[in-house]
């Protein structure tokens, strides 16, 4: 699908955006966003402006765009992390994950977050041991059996390609790991609760190139099992690892297409300018 938006009419306060154009993205829809607007100040100004897009299952979808364009905000809407901020709310539209409107009153946000995991920009393991970090999620969900927890920890660390590096020191502090290892530990922690979707908010921005390569490799592997949405500043990264890419600018979705198409033949002038480095 490609959304074509008239920049000028939108800034003039156009109520409904243009209908999405049937595009080249294939696959079952995991996350379905219809006309989503979002505001940090109770609707006075919209940080996200009428965004509609569908994210397909078991693919990597990248959000790119200059700083402050709202891509991280949009990502945080998917597991309702924005609920933590007072006066921040969705002002129009709906987000459906697996067919369920996540803002519906019957939705339990705790359950939602178990299904939609998140990895943050700055790696943030808890000040606990490696084992405790990974087992934290299952434990708060009520898993008490030591054997089961051991199995989950091993599976998750293997899933995050970290097992071989840490299996001999599971009980030492997570802070003893390198930055890249800590970030992979955070990914292991996220997949320990077996979510359907993993949101990644610039997961490599605090890492060096070698660690970045490892995390990217991991993301490619995780695609087999999980739907991944990744926000990134690096266009190279987006083109390397993602199947689809959405380009945001000033709170609006400018273009959304398969990565290949978007980077080779962007349909919008702004997209072309951005990916060729003329602004941003």
């Amino acid at each position: 699908m490609v959304i074509e938006m008239n920049q000028e009419t939108a800034t003039l306060g156009k109520e409904t955006p243009d209908e999405p154009v049937i595009g080249r993205i294939k696959g079952k829809t995991m996350i379905e966003c219809n006309d989503v607007s979002f505001s940090y100040d109770n609707g006075k100004t919209n940080t996200l402006d009428h965004i509609s897009l569908d994210i397909p299952e078991k693919q990597v979808t990248a959000f790119i765009g200059p700083s402050g364009c709202g891509k991280s905000t949009f990502l945080r809407c998917f597991n309702r992390m924005n609920d933590l901020i007072d006066s921040a709310r969705i002002t129009s539209g709906s987000i459906n994950i697996m067919g369920q409107d996540i803002h519906a009153p019957e939705v339990d946000v705790i359950e939602l977050r178990k299904q939609v995991g998140m990895v943050f920009q700055k790696y943030n393991p808890f000040p606990k041991s490696i084992y405790e970090n990974v087992s934290y999620g299952p434990r708060i969900q009520g898993v008490r059996d030591k054997k089961e927890l051991d199995a989950i920890v091993e599976r998750s660390l293997k899933g995050a390609a970290l097992w071989d590096e840490v299996k001999d020191r599971l009980n030492s502090s997570a802070f003893g790991l390198s930055g890249g290892q800590q970030q992979r530990l955070c990914i292991a922690r996220a997949i320990a609760v077996q979510p359907h979707v993993i949101l990644m908010d610039e997961p490599c921005s605090a890492l060096d190139p070698i660690a970045t390569a490892k995390v990217e490799e991991l993301i490619m592997e995780l695609r087999e099992k999980y739907t991944i949405v990744i926000v990134t500043h690096s266009m190279q990264q987006a083109s390397r690892i993602s199947d689809n890419t959405a380009f945001f600018y000033l709170g609006k979705l400018i273009e959304y297409d398969t990565t290949k198409t978007l980077f080779s033949t962007p349909s919008q002038k702004q997209t072309e300018d951005y990916i060729s480095g003329r602004f941003g």
Binding site: D86, I110, R113, P127, Y136, I140, A190
Partner: protein, 655 residues
């Protein structure tokens, strides 16, 4: 080509003229000013510590001298006798109590009724007070007129009759107005029938009539008590003999006590002799009057500088030692046989409780008595006392007695235990409140609540401690005592309380005072937990509560522990409240009462300094003892603070 240098602008980076003293510019002076201020603070702290240490540590040699004097005057030996007497009195008082209770309880129910009658008398009389006064006035008037006679007397007598009937009416009415519930002081509530009977007779007695029922009651009570005394005649005799058995020991004790006390004052006089001599000599030097000068010099020469001879002082003690041993042996034997003649079971339940306890008390007495006997037998005034003894008797001593005409004792333990007890009560109460409010304010409350709660709690710090102490005396003390008398709370150890001013009262106020300290520091610690931890935990699908309990509080734990330690330091150093509210009773807590010690009055290290420093002679042993107490407080604070800092450093947030 000639070499050229740019030199025209070189002035630009040369030192400018302007402000300059001794080659130091303004910047240097500003630096010295700030550095100097920081330095002054450190120097003052060092000076204070050095002064405190100097004054305090000279305590031990002086204390040693005092302990030696206690031994060499023979006072120590008398002390053993004193302890023997005390031990014996303890057992005597138990037995006496058991006996008295039994005799009293023989007329138990009737005695209770009599008490009710007495209380009723008071209530009814005060209800008819006005009428009673009028009657009295009328009677007096009639009494005066009796000598005059005639019509006036008749009028007066009629008035008396009218007043009497009015009074009787008022009494009747007051009697009707009293119900069972009005009885406050009597512990026993009589049945409604008995109550009516008592009321009737009370009204009758008050209105001047005979009340046969009440008279009978009184007679019956004394008869029953007499019967009980007869029945337990042997018991009564045993009690009497037990009390009487003490007197030989008491007499000897009193005799030796007088002698040794005189010895002590002689020693004290000798201790001050050089100072007195010097003062007289100085005075002689300064005066111009030759006769005065001569007189002063003569007096100075007459000052006896020789120390009293220990051999001479203790002569009397040694002379009486054999007699003492004989007396105490006899007392011991008598006590043993008398205790055997005391019945093991009597009718009264309360007495039985005491009697059941008696074997244990007797055993303790025997042990203590035997030990004292051994000490007394082995005693010699020549035994050396080392410096170590001076130190341990101060730190481990269980008595603090000052301004005594007999012997001053400086033992830290009663004060130390009082301080610790109050501080522990306070910390146990303050920690849950302040940590929970810190968690609430930092993690759960919205901005509006934060803006209300935080300044309010921090405001507590601004309340002067004297105001809180006053509140403790006037309001909290009475309130606590009233609450402690509720039946439902009687299971709590120490309830109902005997005293208004006690450790619990002080502990509660100190808890209140320390809440802002602990709250603020704990809140800071929670605030220092990176928000990323919270986000990560929530994103994993944990609830807010799980996040707080499993991630945020454990991460901030070191800070919270440090906060509690600093709060403890604040509590143990607090003076005014404990001085006013803790009850100021210098004694070891009675640990036999278990947790009941919490409601006992006590004294503290800070309180004793505040209370006694004003009235001691500078440089005296007492003065130095107070400095030593101050030193202990100083050390406790220092240790607590450094532990708190270590905790923060070692276990603090590393990320």
């Amino acid at each position: 080509m000639s070499k050229t240098t740019v030199n025209g602008e070189a002035k630009a980076f040369r030192k400018k003229g302007g402000f300059n003293i001794l080659g130091k510019g303004l910047q240097d002076l500003i630096r010295y000013f700030f550095g100097g201020n920081a330095m002054v603070a450190i120097v003052v702290l060092v000076l204070i510590s050095a002064f405190l240490a100097k004054e305090a540590f000279f305590f031990f040699p002086r204390h040693l001298e005092e302990l030696r004097a206690y031994r060499e005057t023979g006072q120590e030996y008398v002390g053993y006798m004193d302890a023997e007497l005390k031990a014996h009195r303890k057992i005597t008082s138990q037995v006496t109590q058991a006996y008295n209770l039994q005799i009293r309880e023989a007329a138990g129910d009737e005695l209770a009724l009599l008490e009710v009658a007495q209380e009723l008398k008071g209530i009814i009389r005060s209800a008819a007070e006005d009428e009673g006064r009028a009657l009295k006035a009328a009677e007096e008037k009639a009494g005066v007129l009796e000598f005059v006679g005639g019509e006036a007397l008749e009028v007066a007598l009629a008035d008396v009759a009218a007043k009497r009937s009015a009074y009787n009416e008022a009494l009747q009415k007051a009697g009707e107005g009293v119900f069972l519930d009005n009885l406050e002081r009597s512990e026993v509530k009589p049945s409604a029938e008995d109550f009516a009977k008592v009321k009737r007779s009370v009204v009758r007695t008050l209105s001047g009539e005979e009340s046969p029922w009440l008279t009978e009651l009184e007679a019956s009570i004394s008869a029953k008590q007499a019967a009980a005394a007869a029945k337990y005649g042997e018991f009564g005799e045993a009690v009497e003999s037990l009390v009487a058995a003490q007197s030989p020991l008491e007499n000897l004790w009193s005799e030796l006590r007088t002698i040794t006390a005189e010895n002590r004052s002689a020693v004290e006089k000798a201790q001050t002799a050089p100072r007195r001599k010097k003062a007289l000599e100085d005075g002689a030097r300064l005066t111009d009057d030759p006769t005065k000068k001569a007189e002063m010099l003569a007096r100075a020469a007459a000052v006896d500088l020789s120390a009293p001879n220990p051999e001479a002082m203790t002569e009397a003690v040694y002379a009486k030692r054999d007699e003492h041993q004989a007396i105490r042996k006899q007392l011991f034997a008598e006590t043993e046989s008398l205790l055997k003649s005391i019945p093991q079971k009597v009718a009264s339940k309360q007495s039985n409780e005491i009697l059941d306890d008696l074997p244990k008390v007797a055993e303790k007495f025997e042990k203590q008595f035997a030990h004292l006997g051994k000490q007394a037998a082995a005693w010699s005034h020549q035994d050396k006392i080392g410096m170590w003894h001076s130190v341990t008797t101060f730190f481990l001593g269980t008595e603090w007695v000052t301004n005594s005409s007999w012997n001053d004792v400086y033992g830290l333990m009663p004060l130390f235990s009082g301080s610790c007890m109050i501080a522990l009560i306070a910390i146990f109460i303050a920690v849950p409140f302040s940590v929970a409010s810190a968690i609430y304010v930092n993690q759960i409350a919205g901005p509006r609540e934060q803006n209300l709660i935080k300044p309010t709690i921090e405001f507590i710090q601004a309340i002067p401690s004297i105001v809180l102490g006053f509140f403790g005396i006037v309001v909290l003390g009475d309130f606590l005592r009233d609450v402690s008398q509720w039946e439902v709370l009687s299971w709590i150890p120490g309830f109902p309380m005997q005293e208004r001013l006690n450790a619990l009262n002080a502990g509660l106020l100190l808890a209140f005072m320390s809440i802002p300290t602990i709250f603020t520091l704990a809140e800071d610690a929670l605030n220092n937990v990176p928000k990323a931890y919270r986000d990560a935990s929530l994103a994993l699908g944990s609830t807010r509560l799980q996040t707080i309990l499993k991630v945020i509080v454990p991460t901030a734990l070191s800070g919270i522990v440090a906060a509690v330690l600093l709060g403890f330091g604040r509590i143990i150093g607090e003076t005014m409240v404990v001085l006013l509210v803790a009850g100021n009773k210098i004694a070891m807590p009675e640990f036999s009462e278990g947790l009941g010690i919490l409601t006992q009055p006590t004294h503290t290290m800070t309180g004793i300094i505040a209370q006694e420093t004003g009235e001691v002679e500078q440089g005296s042993l007492h003065w130095r003892a107070l400095f030593m107490v101050g030193m202990v407080l100083f050390t406790i604070s220092l240790v607590l603070n450094s532990i708190a800092q270590q905790v923060l450093k070692r276990y603090g947030n590393k990320s």
